[in-house]
Symmetry: C2
Subunit: 317 residues, 2 copies
């Protein structure tokens, strides 16, 4: 993976950066994981612009799977030839034992890091409580190889990650707390975190902030739309690496258009619908409840909007 | 357990009613479950006014435990002499496999029913998606003995249970969908559900609505405060059963005072703090992150407020 080289990064340790897809988890019609499609999808993403994969995030329906299923997803992807060090699996659950089990397994599997939601059932919890939760997990895993990306997604988790919490965790666990995925859609929050915490890798959860955040000291993005347009995000990132602002802005515009089309419909279900069309495999449309597959009208509407952007998905391998 | 006999109940099937404690889960200092204290607490609750126990609800920190730990809680309580048919364990998780595993285990253990949160990670999900989630669980468990209490707690789950959803579930699974715990604090919602769905057992999640809801067709309560004042709630319920409105109102006033004191502090941690004082076992104060134990000032403040109500906890067995 490309190494972060923003001016703000004054730490000696490099933070992995680039374009990460919040990879979809293809299912069989009976809701079980379609392992062959999962491996195929992950490999296709890496061959078409993605530097890495945040499997089992919100887009990947992580919380709709049991701990055993989540372990199976990681094992399946690695066994299928995806390099473990391109992976940042989601491991944050409501319960500490579950988060510890998944995090330990990810570290032992050689994952580049883990994307860790705070425990998200209780609302209005204190930073003291969240600090205790993260500490308990990190201490129990007790492995120097652990790299934690905090997952800030208040609209979904209803449990925001404050700057104070980041600061406390960075102070207590330097080298372990590697960065944050900021899916808040609040640009000031992500840019502010990148500025305030040098060496802390801030990744945008929203495609439209990829180029501004790179310019403001962030290290990349982890997004849902990269499942179908990772090549466009990669163009943004490559232009930034080669210091070509004009090309960067042009690529960002193309990415924004695809994002706008995709976000007009329920995101995970919509992206799966697009993959069903692209692969010709209808079972790709399957989502686990409480998510719902697109109906025929939505499916046609999304396909038309995507086509209008001119974006063509990379051919299957 | 007393049987529901509200005028509104026109169904042939009776719905269990009465006073249920949303039982606390005592922990050891290392955050593991204190099995001996758990059994002792549950037995003490049943000996002092509670008709049943909703173990592993929000108050019982259910979502802070793994599936294996939750199974262990139920097994421990039953092995400790608590009659299985007094239990309504919480079984609703974010993932269908987890909810199925816990629900199946509860049914096979002889539990009176299960208290089922909807999958609560994704926000803004549709009733179609929630219906599909509940259906998938009920169909997979596939056991005629199953009795589901829907858990409506929008402030915590951020996933409300609408009347439309109740209606669809009652139509599809008559006899299985037994009732609802309504912790919304919205009295109109719980009274409205009791009126609209005869035979559907509505239980208040808030102590202060016990007597009004009984008068309006509800069947009882499942509350946190019953951990320390189940005897007062039992007085309300007994007065209702004997049709003594004056006694009912007097008991409700006492219960309200205790509730007000307890709710002035974080609820699970506060109730555990009170039990630490009552039992003399300081480890009772332990909560799992992200919850935080009361500090010394809070502990003293809560004890003083509780003392001012005149409420004395029943002696230990």
């Amino acid at each position: 993976m490309p190494v972060n080289s923003t001016p703000q990064d004054s730490s000696s340790e490099s933070t992995p950066g680039g374009v990460f897809a919040a990879a979809l988890t293809p299912l069989n019609p009976d809701l079980s994981i379609n392992r062959a499609a999962l491996v195929g999808h992950c490999r296709w993403l890496l061959e078409n612009g993605c530097d890495g994969l945040a499997v089992l995030g919100t887009t990947g329906e992580a919380n709709s799977f049991s701990v055993e299923e989540r372990i199976d997803v990681l094992d399946t992807v690695i066994a299928g030839g995806v390099p473990a060090d391109t992976l940042i699996p989601g491991t944050g659950c409501c319960s500490i034992p579950d988060t510890v089990a998944l995090t330990r397994h990810a570290v032992e599997s050689g994952a580049a890091g883990v994307l860790m939601l705070p425990p998200f059932y209780y609302k209005g919890v204190s930073d003291d409580g969240l600090f205790a939760a993260y500490s308990e997990v990190i201490d129990r895993v007790g492995d120097d190889r652990l790299r934690v990306y905090l997952y800030h997604f208040p609209q979904m988790s209803a449990t925001p990650i404050s700057y104070d919490l980041i600061e406390r965790l960075l102070t207590r666990y330097p080298g372990v707390i590697a960065g944050m995925k900021d899916s808040s859609g609040d640009y000031a929050n992500m840019a502010g975190a990148a500025k305030r915490f040098p060496g802390f890798g801030v990744l945008s959860g929203s495609d439209e902030f990829l180029s501004p955040l790179l310019r403001d000291g962030g290290v990349g993005c982890i997004t849902a739309v990269a499942n179908i347009a990772g090549n466009l995000a990669a163009d943004v990132y490559a232009a930034w690496r080669s210091n070509d602002g004009t090309a960067m802005d042009a690529a960002q515009q193309k990415l924004n258009a695809v994002r706008e089309a995709a976000c007009a419909y329920p995101l995970s279900a919509g992206l799966k619908d697009i993959m069903a069309g692209h692969t010709g495999d209808k079972s790709w449309r399957t989502v686990r409840p409480p998510l719902v597959a697109l109906d025929a009208a939505q499916s046609a509407g999304l396909a038309a909007r995507l086509e209008a952007t001119g974006h063509i998905l990379p051919p299957l391998g």
